[in-house]
């Protein structure tokens, strides 16, 4: 076994030093009756070449699309070459959580910089070191809001929140018997403000709204904040496509009290949905309730600037059942990719990329609407994703696209009765004009 430093002479020397005949003699702590009295019923060890071939065959069993117009919570963006090269350094990817600050300053300073850029994107003052993904970030944000709101028991969510985020919230809120999850309806693709107003009673701890929402529409956070603030509810923006934050105003500046969501778009790949990057940023006044790891700046014995994990009194290894969350491992390396990406992009690169996304999506929408089979679902401002109604058979459309090497948009039929026959399309900087024209060509033939 190539990963074991084993050789007969070495094994013997170790066993002799311990004073046993064979390794099995060290298992005396496990009662015989509780041991596995046989070998594992699994194939035997395999060479690197054999395993590579097996995995290559599995990877090849996925359909390789030449162009992709599907987003819905997992976005394909350009990954600068520098990212893979940097993250491939063992000092980053094989290290543990930075519990020993003197030999973890690399990771700690990176997290401090990551917290800084995420605060900048969110327009808020405190960010943690990352959460698992957009869905669980919603859970942590909602539970944090409930802690801050003390006796309030209702979590309002917009119907436009990503349906998977809604389900993850439901899974995690269910065990908390006192808590209620209540949905606010959509109207014309965005939160129905009248319905929100009606549901904002004295029991509401927070309101979670997609920004942009699942249908790609940019919700008016400022108008929503004008309702939540007087009601004493915290406004939580949920961004499933973080690239949008280069196009639309920072949630904190637009009125959100907390900003959370999914930041995989920065330097990461779809990867069948994971590992992704949950983020959460909050106001300074709320920092002692934030879940997860947080890095702070300090000095060493000689007065030099350094970084440490801090505010640990919130965390599970200190507070046990009174902790703000059970999270410990988070998405470290994914956050590193995002941090490198954002530093490379800078303010100009991020705004420029975001603008290209908006341009591609607008162009795609225009070209699709020129086909008689498509019609608008709403006319809200959008970033790189939008829904269109299709008069034909959606499954047949997806199949025809797949035949042509195109991954079509998402069939919205299962998500709501009012979206039956609608498709959620996405275009990013990765989609060339040529790809868009090819898609339109395939669809035009289908319609004809």
């Amino acid at each position: 076994m190539r990963y074991l430093p084993s050789a007969p002479a070495e094994d013997r020397a170790l066993l002799d030093a311990i004073g046993v005949q064979k390794a099995e003699d060290l298992l005396t702590g496990i009662p015989e009756s509780l041991r596995l009295g046989r070998e594992l019923d699994l194939p035997g060890q395999a060479s690197e070449l054999e395993v590579l071939r097996a995995l290559e065959a599995m990877a090849a069993a996925n359909t390789a699309f030449r162009s992709r117009f599907l987003g819905a919570g997992a976005y394909e963006h350009f990954v600068p070459t520098a990212i893979d090269m940097m993250v491939g350094r063992q000092e980053w990817f094989t290290a543990y959580t930075p519990y020993q600050p003197e030999i973890s300053q690399g990771t700690l300073q990176h997290i401090f910089e990551y917290q800084t850029v995420m605060c900048d994107l969110a327009g808020l003052e405190v960010s943690n070191a990352s959460l698992y993904d957009g869905g669980t970030a919603c859970v942590e944000a909602a539970l944090m809001a409930v802690r801050l709101a003390k006796k309030k028991n209702t979590i309002l969510i917009s119907q436009g929140l990503h349906p998977h985020y809604q389900e993850v919230l439901c899974t995690n809120i269910t065990p908390h018997e006192g808590l209620k999850l209540v949905q606010v309806a959509l109207k014309d693709g965005v939160t129905d403000l009248e319905d929100l107003k009606a549901k904002l009673n004295g029991d509401v701890a927070c309101f979670l709204v997609g920004y942009p929402n699942f249908l790609g529409c940019v919700e008016d956070l400022t108008a929503i904040a004008e309702l939540t603030k007087p009601a004493g509810a915290l406004l939580v923006s949920v961004t499933q496509e973080a690239m949008a934050l280069g196009w639309i105003e920072a949630p904190g500046k637009a009125g959100a009290d907390m900003a959370c969501g999914e930041a995989m778009s920065f330097g990461n790949v779809p990867n069948f949905g994971g590992p992704f990057l949950g983020f959460l940023a909050v106001k300074d006044a709320h920092k002692r309730e934030i879940p997860g790891r947080v890095v702070g700046q300090t000095k060493d014995l000689e007065g030099r600037t350094g970084y440490v994990l801090t505010l640990t009194a919130r965390e599970q290894h200190i507070r046990r059942d009174k902790a703000t969350s059970n999270i410990c491992s988070n998405q470290g390396l994914v956050a590193l990719r995002a941090n490198i990406f954002l530093q490379l992009a800078g303010p100009e690169g991020l705004k420029g990329l975001a603008e290209q996304n908006a341009a591609k999506a607008q162009y795609l929408r225009e070209r699709l609407l020129a086909l008689p089979a498509f019609s608008a679902v709403n006319d809200q401002p959008f970033f790189n994703e939008f829904a269109l109604r299709y008069s034909g058979d959606v499954k047949a459309l997806q199949a025809a696209c797949a035949q042509a090497g195109i991954l079509a948009g998402l069939d919205l039929t299962p998500y709501s009765d009012s979206l039956k026959g609608c498709i959620l399309w996405c275009a990013t900087e990765m989609n060339t004009r040529e790809q868009i024209e090819h898609l339109v060509e395939v669809l035009a033939k289908l319609v004809a």
């Binding site: 996925n62 390789a64 919570g73 520098a82 003197e102 994971g274 902790a323 994914v334």
Partner: protein, 510 residues
């Protein structure tokens, strides 16, 4: 080569006009600005303007201040810092996987589903459990999923139970998880060897009586939903009465959760499903070699017995035999089963940390069943070698047989005013990452050492030498040890001020 002593924050080096990313030429018309005026992105305050060279050098220099597994022995107890095979990185980076979309139809991601199904089958055989979900993103997420399965089980029987029992030797995530799942935590006391006590335990210093398992079961009865037990426990000792604990809990229809953080001691040797476990998580980033990444991403699959299977998070990956044509080679298709009426629901936005699953499967296929067992045995040999070599130099508070890790403490060094923290910092100066310190909390000044199977005798001997050197310095020149580390990029850091006056981001005014 001399590395720079300090690397400034990237923000301090920003010069407007510099760029690290060029945009492709826009091949469609410029976008119309449809945003309401108050929702246009305002200026950024921190994002730096730097070149690619700046960024590469920045992260290269920063990386040199980290210690990684490839630097040498990384003996963090219960963290299983084993070698991260490079093949795993290669397979996880295959474009067929990385470009696959989680919202694509199952027909287009058959390879992904095959990876998941195959890994599930391996993990089922390794744990002896009947069903497996790969969705939880980390160990703590696995714990939460597992405890929610326990809750769903009791709710399905019309019973709402409120208590989870957790040994005082348990990892902090256990009680934090139980609380997140809506339970009250009741602590189970340890016997002197760290295993669960059936009898009441009297604290010798305070005289306070702590109720043992028997009393708790008698008093709380069906209020008890289950227990969360780490096995081997955090002292590296196998809970030799595990089956009896499980039987006692099963008698009141309470369920047994096993924290699988220490599974590296058991793979191929003993299976939780065979000794009474109903539900458990595995840490793919510990036992199955996926990289720790400086704090993630991890992966925490959860296995369970058949009676908990209906409650598993949805969707569940299933395999169907494809209809065979005349003379066709038999083959299978994979599907995602969303129709799970009793499911606790989704626990991850999509399907968990998929790229970690690719790595773990690569590890499994490389080792095979025989290699996995060989790794377990070598991990146990390595830990026992360190135990025998350091015995006599450091105090061994628990004398029971230990498996993949060993706990020493600072009792013998107290006369020199040298404590566990000093030993840890002394190790840094001698080129090693310190072990886990001050955990488990039931051992005063614990040094929890887990070398894993990756270490050769040569590496182990170098570590032993460093530990002995520290003990000698403690006796001869304790002040020098109080100063450690002096060779790292920084000296000891002021954590108190960091927490009292938190500075959590860079700002322009700074």
């Amino acid at each position: 080569m001399k590395t720079r002593q300090r690397e400034s924050l990237i923000f301090d080096r920003s010069i407007p006009g510099k760029v690290g990313l060029d945009l492709p030429k826009l091949d469609v018309p410029a976008p119309k600005d449809t945003r309401p005026a108050h929702l246009k992105r305002s200026d950024f305050e921190a994002l730096p303007s730097v070149s690619e060279v700046d960024v590469i050098r920045h992260f290269t220099r920063l990386s040199k201040w980290n210690y990684g597994v490839d630097d040498g022995l990384y003996p963090l107890g219960s963290c299983t810092m084993k070698h991260n095979p490079r093949l795993n990185e290669k397979t996880a980076a295959l474009p067929g996987f990385t470009l696959s979309h989680p919202m694509a139809d199952a027909a287009h991601v058959q390879g992904n589903l095959a990876v998941m199904y195959t890994l599930q089958e391996w993990l089922k055989e390794i744990t002896g459990l009947d069903a497996m979900t790969l969705m939880p993103s980390a160990g703590a997420a696995g714990e939460l999923t597992g405890v929610m399965l326990i809750r769903a089980y009791h709710v399905s029987k019309g019973a709402q139970r409120r208590v989870i029992l957790i040994p005082d030797s348990g990892h902090g995530t256990n009680p934090a998880t139980a609380a997140m799942a809506g339970y009250d935590v009741v602590e189970l006391p340890s016997q002197p060897d760290g295993t669960i006590s059936f009898e009441d335990v009297t604290d010798p210093s305070t005289g306070k009586v702590r109720k043992g398992l028997n009393t708790l079961i008698a008093e709380l009865g069906t209020e008890i939903a289950g227990a969360m037990i780490t096995n081997p426990n955090t002292l590296g000792v196998f809970e030799y009465r595990f089956k009896e604990v499980a039987d006692a809990l099963h008698a009141i229809d309470a369920l047994v959760y096993m924290d699988g953080a220490n599974m590296n001691a058991l793979v191929g040797v003993a299976r939780p499903g065979d000794f009474g476990v109903d539900v458990m998580h595995l840490n793919l980033h510990k036992t199955f070699s996926t990289p720790h990444g400086g704090g993630g991403p991890g992966s925490g699959p959860v296995g369970c017995v058949a009676k908990l299977e209906p409650f598993l998070p949805r969707p569940v990956v299933v395999r169907k035999e494809a209809k065979l044509g005349e003379g066709e080679v038999p083959h299978f298709t994979y599907e995602l089963d969303w129709n799970r009426p009793q499911s606790i629901g989704k626990v991850h936005t999509f399907f968990g940390n998929f790229a970690m699953l690719v790595r773990a499967l690569t590890y499994c296929l490389s080792h095979g069943g025989d290699g996995l067992k060989a790794a377990t045995l070598r991990a146990i040999v390595n830990a026992n070698y360190l135990r025998s070599e350091l015995l006599g130099t450091y105090n061994l508070p628990i004398k029971s047989p230990t498996l993949h890790e060993v706990i020493f403490n600072d009792a013998d060094l107290a006369t020199h005013d040298i404590h566990t923290l000093d030993v840890a910092k002394g190790l840094i100066d001698r080129g090693f990452h310190p072990p886990t310190i001050y955990f488990p909390i039931i051992v005063s000044g614990a040094l929890m050492i887990e070398p894993t199977e990756s270490e050769s005798k040569e590496e182990l001997d170098a570590f032993v030498e460093a530990m002995k050197d520290i003990a000698q310095e403690a006796a001869e020149n304790p002040d020098a040890l109080h100063q450690a580390p002096v060779l790292a990029s920084l000296r000891r850091l002021d954590e108190t001020t960091a927490a009292r006056k938190p500075v959590l981001r860079w700002t322009k005014a700074q």
